[in-house]
């Protein structure tokens, strides 16, 4: 179904032709750039870090399952697992700090003030519109209304984003307590180590459980995007998809005439393939962990 945008982009393509194509090769469609290179890199790092943290951490949490012993042995023993866990934690902190630093840069570059960044149309902070969209979504779910017109960041994407903030704060602080117990017991009672253990462990379970089920579904594996939405890895999404999923953003871009700034050549085939392989591995590990958690919690719990 050709749309205005289609026509527009085809015009763009025809007017800006970098090199002539052979008769057998069709000229690739330009795509909308949703994520910057840094954001993609941070997400990839986050995946590596998070999977490592989850795998090594859960071997302890579910030490009563045979799987845990096997994984621990596979990794080279609990000490190696602990080393991996702490290295991954450092990486996670690194991702977090880098993101915050990047926010500062973005603010300097694109916004006049924090206020503009935080209260702008593309803000990550929850807004009244998010609440309205949430209620509209509920209606849509139960067949009482149309699909809401989402903007750049949907409410569930904002939820995921802040879940990471919360997780890093809670899991990170308790994790440091467990990492340096002797330092922390200089000013905290010994039993805080016990409390930190409970919080660290349960919050981690929440994080892994949520990421590997809800987040996976919401952003990567929704049936209409099946088998996988790779936008976060490639940074690109087809314009049609932007139009369908984020109509508000699309319309705003069209209205401001800045859409073209966000269009790019697709990633080379090999990059896309590599990204898919990586994504599938990560997803598989995540799902395996979910299965392990369910098994450990429901069938092997002691």
């Amino acid at each position: 179904m050709p749309t205005d945008l289609d026509l527009q982009t085809s015009e763009l393509h025809s007017s800006d032709q970098p090199r002539p194509l052979g008769p057998e090769r069709k000229r690739p469609e330009r795509e909308f750039v949703r994520f910057t290179r840094l954001q993609r890199a941070l997400h990839a790092c986050m995946i590596i870090s998070f999977l490592s943290l989850a795998t090594t951490g859960l071997t302890l949490k579910f030490s009563y399952t045979g799987w845990a012993a096997m994984v621990s042995r596979f990794l080279g023993g609990f000490q190696v697992a602990g080393f991996i866990h702490r290295t991954a934690a450092v990486l996670m902190f690194g991702v977090f700090v880098t993101h915050l630093y990047n926010l500062v840069q973005v603010k300097k570059r694109e916004h006049k003030s924090w206020r503009a960044l935080v209260l702008g149309p593309d803000t990550m902070l929850p807004t009244p519109q998010d609440l309205r969209q949430f209620l509209a979504t509920m209606k849509w779910f139960i067949g009482m209304g149309p699909r809401p017109q989402y903007g750049r960041w949907t409410y569930w994407e904002k939820f995921d984003y802040f879940a990471v903030f919360w997780g890093i704060a809670v899991i990170g602080s308790t994790g440091l307590t467990l990492w340096f117990p002797i330092f922390f017991t200089r000013f905290l009672p010994g039993s805080f180590i016990n409390i930190a253990t409970v919080i660290h462990s349960d919050e981690a379970l929440l994080a892994t459980g949520f990421i590997f089920t809800v987040h996976f579904f919401n952003t990567h594996l929704r049936p209409e995007k099946f088998p996988m939405d790779t936008t976060i890895f490639t940074g690109h999404m087809p314009l049609a998809e932007l139009k369908r999923d984020k109509p508000l953003e699309y319309e705003a871009l069209v209205a401001s005439g800045r859409l073209e700034e966000h269009m790019e050549e697709p990633q080379p085939e090999i990059v896309v393939r590599t990204i898919r392989a990586f994504a599938w591995i990560a997803l598989s590990i995540g799902f395996s962990i979910v299965v392990w958690i369910i098994y450990a919690m429901l069938f092997a719990y002691k």
Partner: protein
């Protein structure tokens, strides 16, 4: 003639005296008057006084001097010659035989029951009366060298009848020959007769003076059963120079299985020579050296002299000479042509090995043997027969390294002892061989390592349930402590010791943690991890809570680096936390943490090593933290889950619509050409 005249004169004087006396006492009633010694001697001091007994002329002379110095010198003649009492002199002849038994009633009684007395009763004229041995008027105490029955004279007194050529020896049934001759050459005779050693045994020392009985009589001093008692009257310590086990008691009680003194030291011929033990072995070997010798039931009866010569019994520790055949195969009878034909019992090793024998009888093995269980082992099943070697001899079947094999021949799985066993220990031998003891013994060749017998004992093997058993829980610490003494000392001070904790509950002993037959090195990963389950058998709750902590979780994963029960509580010296000596007492706990956490502080030691979030009373803050987190978790999941589930139908709907749209585009593309390139490119990219 002269003699007769004097006698007549004496009679006349006597008669006159009597007449005078009768006249004097005529006025008073007449009193019978006993003749005094002097009265008797008035006639009997005449050395020529004789009388005829049958064809024999017998002197009636009594030496007054000798009589008055004899033991009976203070008695009157009529005290013995009672039939003269109140009689007028001269009295009629012959007088009745003197009854010594009037005074010497015991001796008389013995004599009348004795061989001699019975012969008299039978009317045997050769049988001796008191007087034949003791004499008559000149009897002196037996200690007086002049006595007829003084030790030095006894052989001759007896020999008067009991020597070759005498009527007694010729006409009566006497088994022994050359008695006096043999005796005088024997060690006893030589001592007495040649060396004048009057304490040396003479005839009566063995046969008794009056109670002489045939050796077949059970009351005889020379009966087989009594001979030991008889000999030990003098040879009181004989068992010390013979063998430890032939105690007077055993010798007397079990005379039927033991050789009697006289079996080796023949009566009358007892020589002053050393009787080489086993000197009769040659007699046994006359038959048993034959390799083809078979018993009636077909068993080979061949005995290898070489085997015996190599055995421990050829060089026993308790005696200077080899053990002889008959010391084990007792009940032989030397008077038979085949001395062994009287053997009716199997060899009883406990004759010498008395302690071991008693232990064995008490043991399960012994009980089964007594119950005639066909599977029950006897001494020979473990020790063998003729080729018995010392347990320290590497060739021995009971040498340390061979013991597991030896016990295993019955106790290995499937063998006869294992089949009847109903307890919980299985694969005993295999497990032992893989255990630290088994490896120490069999792989490292360390012969001081514990084998079966170190724990179970060699001879008093009893089931664990028996309170006397060395493996009864009560005794296990002492059993293990025999080698691991230092550990036992620690353990007996600990809260687990029966000596410290008085309780009805079962307290753990060594094997509850270390196992019995599968004992492992304690620095082995498997052991270190297993031990937590061992503690958890009793301390169930506290072990569970341990596994809720980091220490426990790492241990559960199979790593030993983190603290396990004993790292904090100690192993053998476990004490209640309240005890100041405990590793976890207030004074010691920081140092205990510092074993791993070198810089640990007191506040760090406040970490709750057994904290659980399941106990709201003990650990409320953990409990509520846990449930707070769980609530957060559940609500997030419920929210996220619901959101996702509700979304799914819509998502599928969208997918269907997209597919339909694509299909329409496809159809449009195949019809026209307008937007073909663009649409296909997009499709390709998405479907990739």
């Amino acid at each position: 003639m002269f003699r007769r005249t004097r006698r007549n004169l004496f009679a006349l004087a006597n008669a006159l005296t009597l007449l005078l006396a009768a006249g004097i006492i005529h006025a008073a009633p007449p009193v019978p008057q006993n003749p005094s010694t002097d009265d008797c001697l008035a006639c009997h001091s005449d050395k020529t006084l004789t009388t005829k007994r049958g064809s024999r002329t017998v002197s009636l002379f009594v030496d007054g001097k000798k009589f008055s110095s004899s033991v009976h010198g203070s008695l009157s003649c009529t005290a013995c010659h009672a039939d003269l009492e109140g009689k007028d002199l001269p009295h009629s002849t012959p007088l009745a035989r003197v009854e010594c038994g009037t005074c010497h009633s015991d001796e008389q009684k013995q004599h009348s029951h004795s061989l001699h007395g019975k012969a008299i009763a039978r009317g045997d004229t050769l049988a001796p009366h008191c007087v034949d041995c003791h004499g008559n008027h000149d009897i002196v105490p037996v200690k007086d060298p002049r006595s007829a029955v003084a030790p030095l004279k006894v052989p001759f007194v007896c020999g008067r009848c009991h020597q070759e050529g005498t009527p007694v020896q010729l006409n009566r049934q006497i088994d022994q020959h050359n008695i006096l001759e043999n005796y005088s050459e024997s060690i006893h005779g030589e001592a007495l007769l040649k060396k004048g050693l009057i304490v040396a045994a003479n005839c009566v020392s063995c046969h008794t003076p009056h109670n002489i009985l045939p050796h077949t009589d059970p009351n005889s001093s020379i009966n087989r059963r009594n001979i030991a008692a008889t000999c030990t009257k003098c040879h009181a310590e004989i068992e010390e120079v013979h063998r430890k086990t032939i105690r007077g008691e055993l010798w007397e009680k079990e005379a039927h299985v033991l050789p009697a003194c006289v079996d080796c030291h023949q009566p009358h011929k007892v020589r002053n020579v050393y009787y080489a033990q086993g000197m009769a072995d040659a007699d046994c070997m006359r038959c048993h050296a034959n390799e083809h010798l078979k018993a009636a039931d077909g068993r080979s009866m061949f005995v290898s002299a070489a085997e015996i010569a190599a055995s421990r019994h050829a060089h026993p520790r308790t005696q200077a000479v080899p053990v002889s055949c008959s010391q084990c195969h007792s009940e032989v009878n030397v008077s038979r042509v085949r001395p062994c034909e009287t053997i009716s019992h199997p060899v009883d090793c406990s004759k010498c090995h008395e302690d071991q024998g008693q232990q064995f009888q008490r043991s399960k093995h012994g009980q089964l043997l007594a119950a005639k269980d066909p599977n029950a082992p006897s001494c020979r099943d473990c020790h063998g027969t003729h080729r018995i070697l010392d347990k320290r001899d590497p060739e021995s079947r009971t040498f340390a390294t061979r013991v597991p094999e030896l016990c295993g021949s019955c106790h290995r799985e499937g063998q006869k002892a294992a089949v009847r066993y109903v307890g919980t220990q299985h694969e005993i031998i295999r497990h032992y061989q893989e255990s630290i003891h088994g490896k120490g013994l069999l792989k490292s060749g360390l012969t001081v390592t514990a084998t079966c017998t170190n724990c179970h004992t060699a001879h008093m093997v009893l089931p664990k349930s028996d309170p006397q058993s060395t493996v009864n829980p009560k005794n296990v610490p002492a059993t293990c402590g025999a080698c691991h003494h230092g550990i036992e000392e620690q353990f007996e001070q600990s809260v687990h010791s029966r000596l410290v904790t008085k309780t009805d509950k079962d307290l753990p002993v060594c094997n509850d943690c270390h196992s019995a037959h599968t004992i492992r090195r304690t620095d082995e990963t498997g052991f270190m991890l297993d031990i937590m389950d061992k503690c958890g058998k009793c301390h169930e709750e506290i072990a569970k809570t341990y596994f809720d902590t980091y220490h426990g979780k790492v241990s559960r994963l199979g790593y030993t680096k983190t603290a396990k029960c004993y790292d904090c509580h100690g192993a053998h010296d476990i004490l209640p936390v309240a005890d100041p000596r405990s590793h976890l007492s207030r004074a010691n706990v920081v140092a205990t943490c510092q074993k791993c956490h070198a810089t640990a502080t007191r506040r760090f030691a406040g970490y709750l090593t057994h904290a659980t979030h399941h106990d709201p009373k003990k650990y409320p803050f953990l409990f509520w933290t846990f449930w707070g987190m769980t609530t957060l978790l559940l609500s997030t999941f419920v929210f996220g889950g619901m959101h996702t589930l509700l979304w799914l139908p819509r998502a599928f709907q969208m997918r269907r619509e997209l597919k339909a749209e694509e299909a329409r585009e496809e159809a449009a593309r195949s019809n026209g050409t307008g937007a073909e390139g663009k649409a296909t490119a997009e499709e390709d990219h998405r479907a990739d």
